[in-house]
């Protein structure tokens, strides 16, 4: 019996070896469609981080920008393609694959690519690279960064107007880590609130982490208890704690960040606690970079995506939690920022753990 089992096992293993050898070539490293230079006005290769092009987040948005560009310019399917990275170690090989194929624009989505792009870009001086959401010093890399303060200004206007409906007239900001990056979110928000509602009290707290949702929730408890009616969270995953607390209360609001968080705020009653969201449009960056390359206008260096090129904005869908008047007011402010009448700075006003009222009292 044992002998028979052994035999069966060995034959099974042998079979599996044969089966393996017949397997299709490895998926990673082989693009879905190989772009052929020459037939296309421009060829685009997008490298995702470990999220796929259907991650409902940055990668998906980036790929949608590419597809929109393809559609608008009637490019053939083989002109655009993407490579999904299975691990951090795939970044360099994937970027290089597109480089070797002579793709015109190679796009890397997310700051995780920082090392990889600095390593690969010098090897392909004739290839154009787009680096979304961070900065590379290489000459052939276009670094797309976002003017978060402008989008934050707009959601600040919406929050400030919402706070007017309450007696306490207060709004809150809960950020991830104190510093220049999130500071821009805070500064824009403060200016937006005060532009629409000069009397408002603004509370500011930092989680000191982008992960600690329990601390973020406790900070939200503190701010809501102090009379805050709208909290703008830019604390990454920790921001979930703010949304959870708002759901528990039911009569307060949260402003989402980076993407439309309306669905995350849905409660059992069928409405959402997300007042609006500050949105980074990654698709604008990929679209713009492809377009610039096609028109031979592509330049390396930093390109800022802001309201003027629709790289950033507030989520203003009608029929949600914003009234039509508020939407119109926000659109007004957006027009003023675009026209240069209002300049949004990145200088923060309120210190961590304080409000603009307690600071003045000091």
């Amino acid at each position: 019996m044992k002998k028979f089992l052994k035999l069966a096992l060995i034959s099974l293993m042998a079979l599996s070896l044969v089966a393996c050898s017949k397997e299709a070539p490895k998926e990673t490293g082989t693009p879905e469609t190989t772009p052929v230079a020459g037939e296309c006005a421009v060829t685009v290769g997008l490298v995702t981080d470990i999220g796929g092009v259907d991650d409902k987040s940055f990668n998906q948005s980036a790929w949608e920008g590419v597809l929109q560009f393809q559609k608008d310019n009637n490019l053939a399917d083989e002109c655009v393609s993407y490579l999904q990275s299975a691990a951090d170690a795939d970044y360099v090989p994937n970027l290089s694959t597109f480089g070797d194929q002579g793709v015109d624009v190679v796009m890397a989505v997310g700051f995780l690519f920082e090392q990889a792009i600095n390593e690969v870009a010098p090897n392909y001086p004739d290839t154009k690279f787009l680096f979304v959401d961070a900065v590379s010093p290489e000459a052939n890399v276009m670094s797309a960064i976002y003017a978060a303060e402008q989008g934050s200004f707009l959601v600040g206007v919406a929050a400030g107007l919402k706070a007017l409906e309450t007696e306490s007239n207060a709004v809150g900001f809960i950020g991830g880590m104190e510093g220049e990056i999130i500071g821009a979110f805070q500064a824009g928000f403060e200016q937006g609130v005060l532009a629409a509602n000069p009397e408002a009290t603004i509370y500011v707290d930092y989680v000191d982490s982008f992960a600690d949702d329990s601390k973020a929730q406790n900070l939200a408890v503190k701010q809501y208890d102090a009379g805050v009616s709208v909290i703008y969270q830019s604390a990454g995953n920790a921001g979930n704690g703010v949304i959870k607390e708002a759901k528990q209360r039911g009569d307060v609001w949260v402003v989402g960040v980076d993407r439309d968080q309306y669905e995350d705020g849905m409660t059992a009653e069928g409405n959402s606690v997300i007042l609006t969201s500050m949105i980074k449009r990654v698709d604008s960056a990929t679209y713009k970079a492809a377009e610039l390359a096609m028109n031979n206008e592509f330049v390396g260096g930093i390109t800022t995506f802001d309201l003027t090129n629709e790289g950033i904005g507030a989520e203003l869908t009608t029929g949600r939690n914003l009234s039509d008047e508020v939407i119109a007011t926000v659109a007004d402010y957006a027009a003023k920022i675009k026209a240069g009448e209002i300049v949004v700075t990145i200088d923060t006003l309120v210190a961590n753990g304080q409000s603009n009222k307690t600071q003045q009292a000091k």
């Binding site: 470990i50 259907d54 409902k56 987040s57 000191d208 406790n218 959870k244 705020g265």
Partner: protein, 312 residues
Amino acid sequence: MDILISMIPATLLVAAPIIVAALGGMICERSGIVNIALEGIMLVGAFAGATACYFLESHAVLGPYAGWISLVIGIIAGILFSLLLAVSTINFKADHTIAGTAINLLSVGLSVYMCQIIFGQQRSQSFMTGLNKMKDVPIFGDLFANIYPTIFIALILVVASYYVVFKTGFGLRLRSCGENPQASASMGINVYKTRYMGVLLSGGFAGLAGAMMVLTNGVQFTATSIHGVGFIAIAAVIFGKWNPFGILGAGIFFGLSSAIGIYASMIPVLNLLPPEFFACIPYVLTIVALVLFSNKTVGPKAAGQIYDVGQR
């Protein structure tokens, strides 16, 4: 005074999962296996809890109890996942620290991969409610309105695990395997079975703690849902001297230091200290506790040692 009262819910929210996970870690170490994998098991428990909650909430009959059923699912997931630790350390005699670390690394990849399969994104879909605060419990009125019921689960488990570990025959056998497994075996105790019980129990506790965290703290599972609480729980085991009531104190203390960090800016004197000061209190005190305990034999003597039947 108002500040003090608002600090209580903040403390308990942070403390509850630390206490439950630390109880699991304590039981595991009492059996002789060091459970470094608490963090990873919690993450898997959180993933299972959040996923179950998302799918159950829309169910007509089970919907209102979705949060509670999800806790049970979290326990089951934790037990199943901790089997990996049990098999590798007990049967295959792997080094406890290395096996635990491997499981921690595996947990992130596994849970995110499952999210990709189930939800098509690297986080779970958002559930609507999870667990609610006890504002609807009429007997207590406003007293507990800001408190999640999970802290009471933690309190019950503290008492229960004290009783089981120190007052029952099973507890005695469990502790003996952690002190001197060879002697236990000579007295007819099945060391393998007892240690399996210890590891699987801790898996259940950690899975419960993970599900509790995701259902009370956030609105969805993400790769950072546990954010190091599993390691703080290990610290709580040491700080609480491997005793359930010590762990209760340690958990509440760690929660309190987090709560003070939040309200410090409103309290005189404390507002002069930087916020980082409060964030580092748990870690500093754990190191202090380790130094203080280093001369005394407070922990299980054989914890972390690979069980060799022939060793004398």
